[in-house]
């Protein structure tokens, strides 16, 4: 179906437009499309009118597919020549399905109709405006929804970020904690190992050198040890940092640098004038009383961290204690050795009568005990030789022993036989020190007689080698131990001694073995003495003493002191006694 209008004037155009709208409505074209069609048609027709001439509008609908359901508007120029030159204007809109071609009368062209249609046209416009508003609302709400969604997505992203950041932080914290625990373990292990190394040494000079090898380079670049007593100081007159002096005076560690140390328990000081660019940590070496020195350290890098500083201070504290203990031990040992040496007498020389003594303290404990030997002259020229053993060990026994030695020498000045002297010592000891006892043997050599007088109190028997190589144990019943709560008179015994004889006095440490008692040991001593020749004993009594001791001590546990005194009457004693002064010296 086709409807056609010819348009020359604006009124024609208006009528065509009105009819198009009505037809479109009749064919069920939806409002928006209808308005589009009429607006586009009006715009084109206005253009045509300005050009002038005649124009033709065709509205076509088809009833058969594929073009059914479409309304097509075509505007062509009335001038055929123009129509050929220019393609026609057209627009197609969809109709409602099955809309019939109901009769639509063409609109009249009178002004009333046109005015009425004009008013109706605004209705269409209002429809379009409503639709537009709807669309705008829809867009707005979609936009809002989109915004919300975006916000939600952003929030989700933010949460994920936070979660992953949180997890990273957790890992980092865990790693940090593990690293710190590692570092702490490393420090503690170092502290334990270093303490073991430091306390293992008893020599304080060694401790000083060990400090240096332990700490450099990991914990310090430089280590200096300032000991107040000078000691083994390599640079005794070197200037000391002021901070070290403060550390010494206050007993508190000091940190001298151009910045604050932030080290716990450490006071800050201005940098050292000697080396202002190097931070110094000065830690006093503590003892039970005043510090014995100051440890001066420079850091391995720019500075220490707090934990390393704490460890260094603790290490220094332990070192101070170790050094203090070492010094005390050395001090006591020095005293003990000095005392011991003072008590070991120089043996008097007599022409024709040689003496050789050996003293070996027990191997553990202080080097001092209760064994002693002595030899001295009485006013009548007799030579008194003594071997003794105060029961007990250590300083107490040693002090008692020295008192007995002196008492004996004093008593001997009054004269008296060995037995008498021992008896007096017995009374003296019992009176003076009721809970200490002693054993002893005294042997007296007469200058002009070939006899030996001896007495023993609770002590292993002396052993005598005669020039024929025989060895006799002088075991006549001894008196009891000195100091025991018993009244006793210790008896004297005499025995002949000819030139070339050797008397051995000794303490039980030489002969006693735990499992066996003393008798097997005494037999071994006798046997060993029997292997010597008089000539050997004449020539070198000291060497003989060593050679005698050696096999006897091979199986000893050395938990008791060992003392030996050899008295040898030279084979040519008589000659030597008459010999000129060259041999005698007092």
């Amino acid at each position: 179906m086709t409807r056609t209008w010819h348009i020359t004037t604006v009124t024609d155009a208006a009528r065509a437009r009105i009819d198009t709208a009505r037809l479109a409505a009749a064919y069920g074209v939806p409002g928006m499309e209808r308005t589009c069609l009429t607006a586009a048609l009006s715009a084109h027709l206005r253009q045509c009118l300005t050009k002038g001439g005649t124009w033709r509008l065709d509205l076509e609908t088809a009833t058969a597919p594929p073009e059914d359901g479409l309304l097509r508007a075509v505007v062509t120029s009335g001038d055929d020549a123009c129509a050929e030159r220019q393609p026609p204007w057209h627009m197609t809109v969809a109709c409602a399905q099955g809309a019939g071609a109901t009769a639509v009368a063409p609109a009249a062209a009178d002004p009333e109709t046109l005015a009425g249609e004009l008013l109706c046209a605004d209705e269409d416009t209002a429809l379009v405006l409503d639709t537009l508003e709807e669309q705008e609302d829809l867009v707005a709400s979609h936009r809002e929804e989109l915004d919300q969604t975006n916000l939600g997505v952003l929030a989700l992203h933010a949460e994920l970020d936070a979660a992953s950041r949180g997890q990273r932080d957790l890992f980092a914290a865990e790693r940090k904690a593990r690293t710190e625990a590692e570092a702490a373990r490393r420090r503690l292990t170092f502290l334990a190992d270093a303490s073991a190394v430091l306390t293992a040494s008893l020599n304080h000079d060694e401790i000083v050198h060990r400090f240096q090898s332990l700490l450099v380079p990991e914990y310090a670049r430089g280590v200096d040890v300032w000991l107040f007593d000078g000691g083994d100081d390599e640079h005794p007159n070197a200037p000391r940092p002021a901070a070290a002096v403060v550390a010494a005076r206050t007993g508190r560690p000091q940190y001298a640098a151009d910045h604050s140390g932030d080290l716990p328990g450490v006071d800050d000081q201005p940098p050292s004038a000697l080396r202002p660019e190097v931070p110094l940590l000065c830690v006093p070496l503590p003892t039970r009383r005043t510090p014995l020195g100051v440890l001066i350290l420079s850091p391995p890098g720019a500075r220490w961290d707090a934990d390393d500083a704490v460890m260094l201070i603790e290490l220094t504290r332990r070192a101070g204690i170790a050094m203090d203990n070492a010094r005390r031990f050395e001090h006591n040992r020095d005293i003990a050795e000095t005392l011991q040496r003072a008590l070991l007498t120089d043996l008097p020389t007599t022409p024709g009568l040689h003496l050789a003594a050996r003293y070996l303290p027990a191997t553990h404990g202080l080097n001092i005990g209760g064994d002693w030997y002595d030899a001295f002259r009485q006013p009548d020229g007799s030579l008194i030789t003594v071997i003794g053993d105060v029961t007990g060990h250590g300083l107490h026994a040693a002090v008692m022993m020295s008192q007995l030695r002196t008492a004996l020498r004093a008593y001997a000045v009054d004269g008296g036989t060995p037995g008498q002297l021992l008896t007096r010592l017995h009374i003296f000891l019992h009176h003076l020190q009721p809970d200490l006892y002693a054993t002893a043997v005294i042997a007296r050599f007469h200058p002009d007689e070939p006899t030996l007088t001896w007495a023993a109190a609770g002590h292993p028997p002396p052993v005598l080698r005669t020039p024929d190589g025989q060895v006799h144990t002088l075991g006549a019943k001894p008196g009891a131990m000195l100091g025991i709560p018993l009244e006793q008179r210790i008896p004297d015994h005499t025995v002949n001694v000819t030139p070339g004889s050797t008397l051995a006095l000794y303490t039980d440490g030489l002969v006693e073995r735990r499992a066996q008692g003393i008798d097997p040991g005494i037999e071994r001593l006798a046997a060993a003495l029997g292997t010597f020749r008089s000539a050997d004993l004449d020539a070198d009594l000291d060497g003989s003493a060593d050679r005698l001791l050696h096999p006897l001590l091979r199986d000893s546990e050395r938990d008791d002191d060992v003392c030996l005194l050899l008295c040898h009457l030279h084979s040519r004693a008589a000659e030597m006694a008459r010999a000129p002064v060259k041999l005698s010296s007092f």
């Binding site: 002590h459 009891a480 131990m481 025991i484 709560p485 018993l486 735990r514 066996q516 008692g517 008798d519």
Partner: protein
């Protein structure tokens, strides 16, 4: 320290009210002697004055052990008490004889013999 090598054990029984029997086992030397000393002091404080020392299981005794025995003897003597040594090993007996301790502190072969000596002494005092 030889403390762990040769430990000392002391078993304390009371055969009579004021008589204590200490049965000692192990080495009696500088490391272990104080253990025995404590037992003696403890019993002394509890009023026992007669001490029987069974040393049959003591293979070795040095001057520390001897000191303690003689000191105990001195203390008990002041209170009319006594110390007896029972069945010492030969090596220990040799030392007790050599030092003359066996003169002052009687040796017995058995606990019964020692108790008989205590009875005799107590008989004398009353």
């Amino acid at each position: 320290m030889s403390m762990a090598q040769n430990p000392l054990s002391v078993e304390v029984t009371l055969p009579r009210e004021d008589v204590v029997l200490l049965t000692v086992e192990g080495h009696l030397d500088i490391d272990t002697a104080t253990g025995l000393q404590h037992h003696l002091a403890n019993q002394f404080q509890h009023g026992r004055h007669h001490f029987l020392l069974d040393l049959s299981a003591v293979p070795f005794m040095d001057s520390s052990g001897m000191n303690i025995i003689v000191r105990a003897y001195q203390q008990t003597r002041e209170l009319e008490g006594s110390v007896h040594i029972i069945a010492p090993a030969p090596a220990v007996r040799r030392i007790l004889d050599l030092t003359g301790v066996s003169i002052t502190v009687p040796l017995s072969d058995s606990v019964e013999d020692a108790l008989a000596l205590v009875d005799k002494q107590q008989g004398h005092s009353t």
